[in-house]
Symmetry: C2
Amino acid sequence: MTNPTAAMIVIGDEILSGRTRDSNMHHLAGELSEVGIDLKEVRVIGDDRGVIIAAVQALSKAFDHVFTSGGIGPTHDDITADCIAAAFNRAIDVRDDARSILAAFYEKNGTDLNTARLRMARIPEGAELIENPVSAAPGFKLENVHVMAGVPSVFQAMVASVLPTLTGGAKLISETLRIERGEGDIAGPLGEVAEAHPALSIGSYPFQRNGVFGAHVVIRGNDAEDINSAMSQLKAIFG
Amino acid sequence: MTNPTAAMIVIGDEILSGRTRDSNMHHLAGELSEVGIDLKEVRVIGDDRGVIIAAVQALSKAFDHVFTSGGIGPTHDDITADCIAAAFNRAIDVRDDARSILAAFYEKNGTDLNTARLRMARIPEGAELIENPVSAAPGFKLENVHVMAGVPSVFQAMVASVLPTLTGGAKLISETLRIERGEGDIAGPLGEVAEAHPALSIGSYPFQRNGVFGAHVVIRGNDAEDINSAMSQLKAIFG
């Protein structure tokens, strides 16, 4: 049994120009690992209609789930919702259910629901809304694509709304052994352990801190017994 | 005159599983902005031969420069060099120039240049070496692809070696205006400023901190005069 697969699309010129450091990728990666969905690819792209449409079409075909972040605010450069609609050949307009959510939120805050804010109620035909408990403007799900905000607090809240609705696979289990030896000394025996446990993913991540160097060897997989056996083998060699 | 374009490929299961938070993307994005090379896409992918080869082939065709990080260490899961060779149909083996660099470094440190470490001297035919002043094992450039280490300190040192060899374009200039108004109030006038300055990229990035909310409006472009004019217009509206 293999786990469901996923891809993420991070949308925004500000990430590619180096102005903003993305944190949504790392958050989603950790959350998906927890529920047993394998994140296979992340693409970071700019606010460019053709590029967004192409990425959505390619990744929604290739993977079970796609998650996007960014580009669903009220300003002229927020074009994600329109691109998702175009990618699936759907109509898009201000939708009553989304408008009601915004109207209630802004009325409570005494803020005007002007034309710009109303753009955030543009939802493609047939999409389901994703709740935004932080700032009301909803995300949405169309086909297998979950469209979410780029602001980290809103993105995280939307991920929390979405994940319980997805069927995950076996949770990824991960065990780490810290070995204070050069990675070049670890590599040979490690390759043998990896060969003896083909179902596991075994990685080595070198560190060098305060004059101490070595590597964290991480064993990942879905079968705890298999992981324990590989870990014992490793400890017998390097313990 | 348009700037040269670039893409980056971040390679490593540990990023996609959420274990490690990538920092190389943000570093490279900032450095490329400085020299006037437009980063257009970043792909984060796992340690999978077919996926790496496909990404290298697609992005090296689509952009002027490609930068990779990760997968060139001594362990069994370090398969990037072999994948790059395969992507361009080149032979790959331990190369004398790379072996000499490693031999000198390890001799000085009193460390054994064993089979695993020697893997780091596997360089595709016709590639130029990229200097690694941190831990000796070189990166390399093949066609328009720069292959660099994943360890951030080594990645950064390699980027510093490579960038002076590339011809950049006009440096990206960026000006920011902090506006303490809701993004929904800013959006309308901002769209008009953007329309009046089609050569500029104008983005709005909302914030909410200590009860104060608003947006940073960032104007980016290569023409300082154009940026100043747009910024004056903005200040006249929101100042």
